[in-house]
């Protein structure tokens, strides 16, 4: 029951909300701090949480800096997460301030620099959540300037901690200017307070009072430092009452604000004030207060102050041993602290120097990088172009080379082809020569014989005229006329054969002309037959022709088609006589080599068939016979070009060359030509 009531009561406790600290610059009392610590754990809103951590940081930062740092780091983390620029600037600034307390000066410098950047940027003013937290104004510009001014103060503090008083003063003054520009009491107060704390002045009381008025006007609570300085200043003027009043005020104010750091200094100063008055007990009392406070904060520097105060107070009280003991403790601790401090300073100076170098280097690197980038880009583009150009050039050259090779190969092929065609023509002409000789021989014989006999007849004619035998004269004259016609006929016949031979050997003129295909076939049949007879005396074959007289003239290149016909007839003769030479396995079979040459008009086509009764073409080679250089004849007897050329010629005439064959029965080659 008891615990229930407790919980109930707790629930009734007014929860301290962040809204309530609006007008207190975020500073909170011990009670409020306790309440905040509880509420922050359950708070869902990050923004509220951030503000709460900020206040908690404030509450602890000058009392227990480690705790202050803990809260400010949470405060900073949330500001980063929310990316609220002004709050973030302030968070960096406050965390840096706390870091200065914990003597992490390097990091403090980093944070203040970061705060400087953010608060120095007008764009940060876009963040206008509770700007009065920073400036007592709803204007986010004023908030930003206030944060910047405060950061100058803190930067001054940092330089003070580093022992650079020049920079410390410069930052304080700059901060004061900024504070005045927006009439911000807190900033102005802190600036003057800080200045006076570091740089004593004759008009210190006046300035301090002025500063305190700024603080009062802006409701800034942390004024114990200024109050204490007034106390010291009054003491200097031997105005002891005023001095102790302000000293008391300072202590009260520091306590109220949990400013233990300030309190350590205040107790120390008050102890010294009493020493100056030779008030030994009070001197010792406040010296002990210093130690008590130091024991609360646990800050080593505070212990140094405490030991010194105690040493001083004991000296005053003639307790030399204790005085010496504390002096020793102070000395020892101070030395160790100083070492840390020196180390920190060296570290920092190195850092600062390095930082400067780094920034400079970064700038240079940036420029160099940009230049390099440009250069690299340029080089890359140039390189790319070069590569492309080279590839194109190379390809072009390769192509040209390949083209040259191809062209020369083509030229070679063409010349070889024409040579082959020519040699095939000459070869077939050679085969024809004997036949042609025979063919010419016959008409020439007739020419000679008829002219001789005509000469004899002329003599007889004269005799008969002398006899006056008119009938006989007439008969002789008639014979003479007939003979002359025969001479003329056979002369023409011989001339035609020579003409045909010349046409055969001549390169094709490519001129199509109306040609009597029957006469052409007949002529070449005779030429082929006599050609073969001339070569092989034992050769003989039966030739049968069947010409379709209705064909008339068809438009062809006569010497080309003649060559085809001759070739096919020659092949037919060759094939037809094969069985007699053992072409058929049954050697006893009586075989009469026969070839059939026929023409026939079918529709708009003319068929020229050349058939033999040879062994036929085996199906295994049937597909190959139209290929160039394919021959079944013994080596040296055939070029293997005959059918290939024939095929091409017929094709060029828009016709077809086909073969029908049956093994042991013979083959028929059919030339199909269009009539038109």
């Amino acid at each position: 029951m008891k615990s229930f009531i407790k919980i109930f009561l707790l629930c009734l406790l007014p929860a301290f909300s962040i809204a309530q600290i609006d007008r207190t610059w975020g500073y909170v009392t011990a009670k409020q701090a306790d309440s905040l610590k509880r509420s922050v754990l359950t708070e869902k809103n990050d923004t509220i949480k951030m503000a709460a951590y900020r206040s908690l940081g404030f509450y602890y930062q000058e009392a227990i800096p480690d705790s202050g740092l803990y809260f400010h780091e949470k405060h900073l983390a949330l500001a980063k997460k929310l990316n609220m620029k002004l709050w973030l600037a302030d968070a960096y600034s406050q965390t840096g301030f706390t870091l200065t307390f914990t003597r992490n000066l390097t990091k403090a410098y980093e944070y203040h620099t970061e705060a400087m950047k953010l608060a120095g940027d007008e764009k940060s003013e876009a963040d206008n959540w509770r700007p009065w937290t920073f400036s007592n104004s709803k204007n986010s510009h004023e908030a930003r300037i206030a944060i910047l001014g405060m950061n100058y103060q803190m930067m001054g503090n940092l330089w003070g901690a580093l022992g650079d008083r020049e920079k410390q003063k410069a930052y304080y003054l700059e901060g004061a200017k900024l504070g005045e520009s927006i009439n911000n009491g807190k900033v102005v107060f802190l600036s003057y307070n800080n200045l006076l704390g570091t740089f004593p002045s004759d008009s210190a009381i006046l300035v301090t009072n002025k500063a305190l008025k700024f603080a009062e006007a802006s409701n800034f609570p942390r004024i114990s430092g200024a109050l204490l300085r007034l106390a010291i200043n009054y003491a200097d003027k031997k105005m002891w009452d005023s001095a102790f009043v302000f000293a008391q005020k300072a202590i009260t104010n520091a306590k109220a604000n949990n400013n233990l750091n300030g309190l350590v200094g205040h107790y120390k100063e008050v102890s010294l004030l009493f020493a100056r008055q030779n008030n030994k007990d009070s001197c010792l009392y406040y010296a002990k207060k210093v130690l008590e406070t130091a024991e609360v904060t646990g800050v080593p520097r505070h212990f140094v102050e405490a030991y010194r105060s105690l040493s001083n107070a004991n000296q005053l009280n003639n307790k030399t041993d204790s005085a010496f003991k504390y002096e020793q403790l102070a000395h020892k601790l101070f030395d160790s602290l100083n070492n840390i401090r020196l180390a920190n300073i060296t570290k920092y100076q190195n850092f600062a120097f390095n930082e400067q170098l780094r920034l400079k280097k970064m700038d240079e690197e940036k420029t160099a990088y940009a230049n390099n980038l440009k250069m690299m880009g340029l080089l890359a583009v140039l390189g790319g172009i070069l590569v492309v150009a080279f590839i194109l050039y190379h390809n072009n050259r390769q192509k040209q080379k390949a083209n040259a090779v191809l062209e020369s190969t083509l030229a070679n092929l063409k010349s070889t082809q024409s040579q082959l065609v020519q040699s095939e023509k000459m070869a077939s002409l050679g085969e024809l020569t004997a036949g042609i000789a025979h063919e010419i021989q016959n008409p020439l014989n007739f020419v000679n014989n008829f002219s001789e006999v005509s000469a004899e007849l002329t003599k007889e004619l004269v005799d008969e005229v002398d006899k006056g035998n008119t009938d006989e004269v007439k008969a002789i004259a008639k014979d003479l006329k007939s003979n002359l016609e025969k001479i003329n006929h056979h002369g023409k016949r011989a001339a035609d054969i020579v003409k045909g031979m010349l046409q055969h050997s001549r390169s094709s003129t490519g001129q199509k002309e109306p040609t009597d295909i029957n006469a052409l076939c007949d002529e070449y049949l005779r030429l082929a037959y006599h050609g073969l007879r001339a070569k092989d005396k034992s050769f003989n074959a039966t030739m049968k022709t069947d010409f379709d007289e209705s064909i008339g003239n068809i438009n062809i290149i006569p010497q080309d088609i003649g060559r085809v016909v001759l070739n096919l007839i020659n092949n037919a003769f060759y094939a037809a006589s094969l069985p007699s030479k053992g072409g058929f396995p049954e050697s006893d079979k009586i075989h009469e080599p026969t070839i059939w040459v026929s023409t026939k008009k079918v529709g708009d086509k003319v068929l020229i068939s050349i058939r033999d009764n040879g062994p036929g073409i085996p199906s295994s080679i049937k597909e190959k016979i139209f290929q160039p250089f394919f021959t079944t004849k013994p080596t040296g007897q055939g070029t293997g070009l005959g059918l290939s050329l024939s095929y091409d010629i017929v094709k060029a005439h828009g016709g077809e060359l086909k073969v029908e064959t049956k093994e042991r029965e013979g083959s028929t080659f059919i030339i199909k030509l269009p009539v038109v």
Partner: protein
């Protein structure tokens, strides 16, 4: 004397008729003509023993002069008629074959009609 001339060239007939104009006129020779071997055999079958002398070309389409010679000399006619072969190819092979087959004489084209006349007269 009846002489059978076998040649595929038809103008041979006119030529012979003119060359032997006087002889024909005088009735010394009677010429008959066949334009192929087959035609010659046909004639010989019909008019057995009429032709005393046969003058045959060798190179003819179909039955060649040599084939004709062989048939005449070996198969059908006894006593066989005198056969004189005429060819444009005066080569040894044709000559030898003709001789083997029993040809009585061998002439080459162009025919020398003067010497032919002499030969015919001796046979007569």
């Amino acid at each position: 004397m009846k002489i059978l001339v076998v040649d595929d060239e038809q103008d041979v007939q006119i030529l012979f008729e003119q060359r032997f104009r006087k002889e024909i006129k005088n009735g010394d020779f009677v010429f008959v003509f066949a334009f192929s071997g087959e035609e010659a055999l046909e004639y010989l079958n019909k008019h057995e023993h009429e032709a005393v002398l046969i003058l045959s070309d060798i190179n003819m389409p179909g039955m060649s002069g040599l084939q004709l010679l062989e048939v005449i000399k070996t198969k059908y006619y006894k006593p066989p008629p005198t056969v004189m072969m005429i060819t444009a190819y005066g080569d040894a092979e044709n000559f030898n074959t003709a001789k083997q087959l029993g040809a009585d004489d061998f002439l080459t084209k162009p025919v020398d009609f003067i010497s032919l006349k002499e030969k015919l007269k001796t046979i007569q």
